[in-house]
Amino acid sequence: MIPLSGTSNLQQTTSYKVVLPFYVYASICFLVSSVLLLLNVEIVQQHYFHPHTLAIVHTMALGWGTMMIFGASYQLLPVLIEGKLDSNLLAYISFGFTAIGIPILILGFYLFHTGWMLQLGAIFVNIGVVFYLVNVLSSIYESSKHDIHAWFIGTATIWLFSTTFFGLLLVFNFSKSLFPDNSVAYLSLHAHLGIIGWFLLLIMGVGSRLIPMFLISKYTNTKILWWIFFLINSSLVSFILLFLLNAKSSFYYISLALALLGIGLFAYYIRMAHLVRIRKNVDEQMKISIISVGQMLLPLLILLIILLVLPANKHVQIAMLYGFCIFFGWITAIILGMTFKTLPFIVWNKVYHKKAYSGKTPVPKELFNENVFHNMFLAYLSGFILFISGIIILNTILLRIGAILLLLSAVLYVYNVAIILLHKPKKI
């Protein structure tokens, strides 16, 4: 018998069976979004309340961003909240409902079927989100410590539910008058609940732990993290209040300033972690993740231009640029980078868990093709830059080339994810 007296000190990781379906699903959604973008590049010249725009945005926000975050957070919950995932069963159920609901919802938007199709999709998505919410909150409740990272993930999850539930009400508002105005009037509120409350808060909470961890940097500053948490939540709450009070657009500078301060502080936090890192050579997965931190500022700068410079009749067009920079910008960049930091470990743990000593096993980063990753990175960055240039000067050729490059990056991404998932143990 071999006693291992200190194992109770070790946090248990979540089973790969819970996590991998989310990665597969999200990868397919990224591919689908990129195809839809290429097929519909002309929509950037139209109002953002266009069925195809709504379909693409929801494929990116729910199918790509949210499903990937669901999977990654189930895996990383022990790291983030210093406890274990409360229930694998709830995780499977959350996958089932969201995985069924998302395509129904997207098809509903694409065909603009405002009746049962959108309603059914939204109901399924909401049920899935409720199971995720219960699982995350009960895991946090059961964990021994409730530090800042637990606050980030818990609060972000509550904002997610606020977003999807409000989205459900907006869907029903199409056919029954639940609100005084048409659903389109509430889109910015629905979008910002999700963008600021869910994506920004969660990515900051996860990033502030994972980026220093992968850089092997011991930089921690809980005070700064609490300030970021306070600033981002204040930004969102002030936005909601201003929206509900029908305030003048100049008042929105308050929300914008709070968000800019929060993101600025987060960028400073990551910069400090980067400066005192012990690992000098930063790999490409981390580089793309760090670039995404810079990309967080881009949509807010665009928003500033919208408010400061452009007349109200140009706001709709620039809103496309704003949305694109969020969904195909920082959310996509951080997922592209972090997928290849987390997924190889999950699969490596599954395949080589107890074999690493018994000979030369590949290290996790050898589970995917680095050349393919490098080309994906280049295709993504050039596609992103060309597409935003195309939106700014309304040039269809640039938009098409940008969309083709983004599609190429999605194909290379899916290829590399497939290589990892299909990895067979090498003979030792």
């Binding site: 291992l4 007296s5 200190g6 070790l10 092997i216 011991k218 012990i278 690493a356 000593y357 290290v363």
Partner: protein, 111 residues
């Protein structure tokens, strides 16, 4: 024992044998072995009971590879000391810090 490696022990000769095996165990994320990384705090031996006591840590308590690293450390010690009982204690006090990385390890990491 390499002078740059600081491990508490009551038997230097056996400790060298133990470390030789542990040099083969890598932290998969860092790509560096756990000895140069400074994860091994103590290796002691009880001749009468034929027992090896190893105290080690991880770079972070929430290391997703922790289970794999400790299992492989036990396997390495079992291979080096066949017929001995291996008692591995995972501790986070004191917490690991960069000063524990050996000069060779720092060179490997580009520092």
């Amino acid at each position: 024992m390499n002078e740059d490696i600081h491990v508490v022990t009551n038997d230097k000769e056996k400790c060298d044998i133990a470390l030789e095996g542990l040099y083969e165990v890598d932290d998969p994320e860092v790509g560096l072995n756990i000895v140069d990384l400074g994860l091994i705090y103590k290796i002691e031996f009880e001749e009468e009971k034929k027992r090896v006591f190893c105290e080690m840590t991880l770079t972070t308590q929430f290391c997703p590879m922790g289970d794999s690293i400790t299992s492989n450390a036990i396997q390495a010690l079992t291979n080096s000391f066949q017929g001995w009982e291996i008692d591995l204690n995972l501790t986070f006090e004191p917490a690991w810090d960069f000063s524990r990385i050996s000069p060779g390890g720092r060179e490997f990491l580009g520092r």
